[in-house]
């Protein structure tokens, strides 16, 4: 159990800048997730903590030790790899005990620890099997056991759920979270799957092109995304992002983009004519039959049935909006409808894509 600190870390691979000035502090016992698209530098960050890569500049601290240049084995971290990396020539028991055996732990103590960890992860009946005889979910538990048995200061998880099928993934998600909370050991978790990040983490760091875009709780990331990238990345459906500008109409402000136009009821502290991006989550876009010929009219492009919900794609001129609504009588493609928004969910981003703080209705 220890906190983990990145101080202005830079890492370069040839001409490619993998990480650029990363500074972040991960609290003791925290479940911290690095989230981003592939190539954003999240795995590099994890490998730097493990010692499998060395930073070009900056420092990494675990607890009160500067580990920047320590070899991997001396950092007291344990890692669960994406493909689990169970040693194929060793039994499950040998795999779990390997870290203890090479550290010359007394035999009795090893037996005891392997037994208790195996019991805890329901691996008791599998100890004499070879890794190739295990299912994906079992392999994953063995990999976790091999990490747990070391009593590390930090757990490192490198997309450990990506090789599991959807049903197992749900189960493994809860299992990992429970294990982490029970042991109270700081965990750094890498994923490109925002659902995982939101479901498991205490805090999430969103990365893009080797930079930290936002570090916050899942709740904050969802309700107050720092920029259009985070807004588009987080959420089971990406947020609708519409580029347009503010126009004054009498006493009211309106946001318009081509044929799309919506009234901004209150003063949000932005000037007439300002260019900005409006973000609305699909869950906050509604529509109803066009009875009175209201101003913002749309045409239904496509309807996707998803069991209890449906996703409807709507077009207003050039602007395409997604709406996620509870299942009801499915609208017909080509039907004209009137749009309605939950305006409390409006997000505003400036010309560079950064969130306009306080611009919330």
């Amino acid at each position: 159990m220890a906190k983990l600190v990145f101080k202005d870390i830079h890492k370069q691979f040839g001409n490619h800048t993998a990480l650029e000035g990363i500074s972040v502090e991960i609290a003791e016992g925290e479940f911290f997730t690095l989230l981003g698209p592939s190539g954003c530098g999240k795995t590099t960050m994890l490998r730097l903590i493990a010692g499998l890569e060395t930073a070009d500049k900056g420092e990494i601290w675990i607890g009160d030790r500067d580990v920047t240049y320590l070899p991997p084995g001396q950092r007291k971290v344990a890692m669960v790899f994406q493909n689990y990396a169970l040693y194929p020539h060793m039994t499950v028991a040998e795999n779990i005990s390997y870290p203890l055996v090479i550290k010359k732990t007394p035999g009795g103590r090893i037996q005891e620890k392997v037994k208790s960890v195996a019991e805890r992860l329901s691996l008791k009946g599998l100890l004499q099997r070879m890794p190739s005889q295990l299912s994906g979910g079992q392999q994953q538990r063995v990999a976790v056991a091999r990490a747990m048995v070391q009593d590390p200061l930090v757990y490192l998880f490198d997309e450990p759920l990506s090789n599991l099928d959807a049903k197992l993934r749900q189960e493994a998600r809860r299992f990992l979270k429970r294990i982490q909370k029970e042991t109270g050991i700081t965990a750094v978790y890498v994923t490109h799957d925002q659902t995982e990040a939101m479901a498991m983490s205490d805090r999430v760091a969103v990365l893009k092109d080797g930079r930290l875009i936002q570090v916050a709780s899942p709740e904050t990331i969802y309700t107050e995304p720092a920029d259009v990238f985070v807004a588009g990345f987080v959420g089971s459906l990406p947020m609708n992002l519409i580029e347009g500008k503010l126009e004054k109409e009498g006493r009211d402000l309106r946001f318009s983009a081509g044929e799309f136009s919506v009234g901004i009821d209150e003063n949000i502290g932005l000037a007439n004519g300002a260019k900005l991006t409006l973000g609305i989550r699909p869950e906050q876009v509604f529509f109803e039959p066009d009875s009175d010929g209201g101003r913002t009219r749309a045409v239904i492009d496509d309807v996707e049935q998803l069991g209890s919900e449906m996703t409807v794609s709507l077009s207003i001129g050039e602007v395409i909006l997604l709406s996620r609504i509870p299942k009801s009588r499915p609208p017909k493609t080509g039907e004209r409808v009137k749009l309605r928004f939950d305006k409390s969910g409006f997000h505003f981003f400036d010309e560079c894509g950064n969130r306009i703080a306080g611009a919330k209705i």
Binding site: G51, L52, G73, A85, H89, I102, Q150
Partner: protein, 273 residues
């Protein structure tokens, strides 16, 4: 389609049988002739006798040759496996400038060192190093001759073993020696088994190198000792030679089956796990 297939089938079958017989006959000769009292070049099972083997048992040089062959091939095998695996591992995992050049040169040299063309310089070299008429001299030449090929094959094999296993072992706290001993070496052992057997078989049958480099009768391997059984005017004594040849093949078979049972062979390092 069906008619032509069935129409040509007897001919193909006949051709295959003919080819099979062609390869089988020498083998039959090899197992039948040694036990014959009146050996000829024909395959026949008549007048069984162990006389040929008794003559070999009486020939001291012929018996010591077995020990010598084991020392030479065994020594070369150990040297090639140990040095080859270390070199191949480094070439597979480390990145340094000139790596491609080294690999190309290796490939080039693999066909040169033990060839007939190199015999004169090899002899001179051994002579200067005072290694003429020593086992170690022959072992070094054997190993040098086979190492480039071995390194090449092993490097390819190791390239296919995912690095994640070694990374896991590093994070688990292995020292470089432990990493090689407990993870990299066992993962590569199928490839190493192939190399070990190849080295053994190749050097076991090598005649030229020990023939040129070894003088005394107490040190010659089987491939050279077989000359004992030609009469003074160079006429082969077929019965004894065939018996000796049969004995000559046995250690190779033993080594092959022992290594294959213990380690298994594999040309591909892709390990599912």
């Amino acid at each position: 389609m069906m008619r032509t297939r069935y129409g040509t089938r007897p001919f193909i079958l006949a051709a295959l049988v003919l080819i099979g017989v062609f390869f089988l006959l020498p083998l039959l000769w090899l197992v039948s002739t040694p036990f014959s009292a009146e050996p000829t070049l024909a395959v026949k099972f008549s007048q069984p006798s162990l006389g040929n083997f008794l003559k070999i048992a009486a020939n001291r040089t012929a018996l010591i040759a077995f020990k010598n062959s084991l020392i030479l091939s065994g020594g070369a095998m150990i040297l090639v496996v140990v040095l080859g695996s270390l070199a191949a591992y480094s070439l597979s995992r480390a990145n340094f400038s000139g790596k491609q050049a080294i690999l190309s040169v290796l490939l080039l040299f693999s066909s040169v060192v033990t060839g007939v063309a190199a015999m004169v310089p090899i002899y001179t070299l051994n002579s200067r190093l005072h290694l003429i008429d020593t086992h170690i001299g022959v072992i070094l030449i054997f190993a040098a001759g086979f190492l480039p090929t071995a390194i090449f094959i092993l490097k390819d094999f190791m390239d296919r073993i995912p690095r994640a296993y070694e990374e896991a072992a590093l994070v688990d706290g292995s020292s470089p020696v432990q990493l090689f001993r407990y993870v990299a070496f066992p993962l590569a052992r199928q490839g190493l088994a192939v190399i070990a057997v190849l080295t053994f078989v190749n050097t076991w049958s090598n005649f030229l190198v020990p023939f040129v480099l070894i003088r005394s009768n107490e040190k010659i391997p089987i491939a050279v000792a077989i000359y004992q059984f030609f009469s003074e005017v160079g006429i082969p004594r077929i019965g004894v030679i065939s018996a000796y040849s049969l004995l000559y093949t046995l250690p190779v078979l033993v080594i092959y089956f022992w290594i294959s049972r213990r380690y298994g062979f594999g040309f591909f390092g892709g390990i599912k796990g």
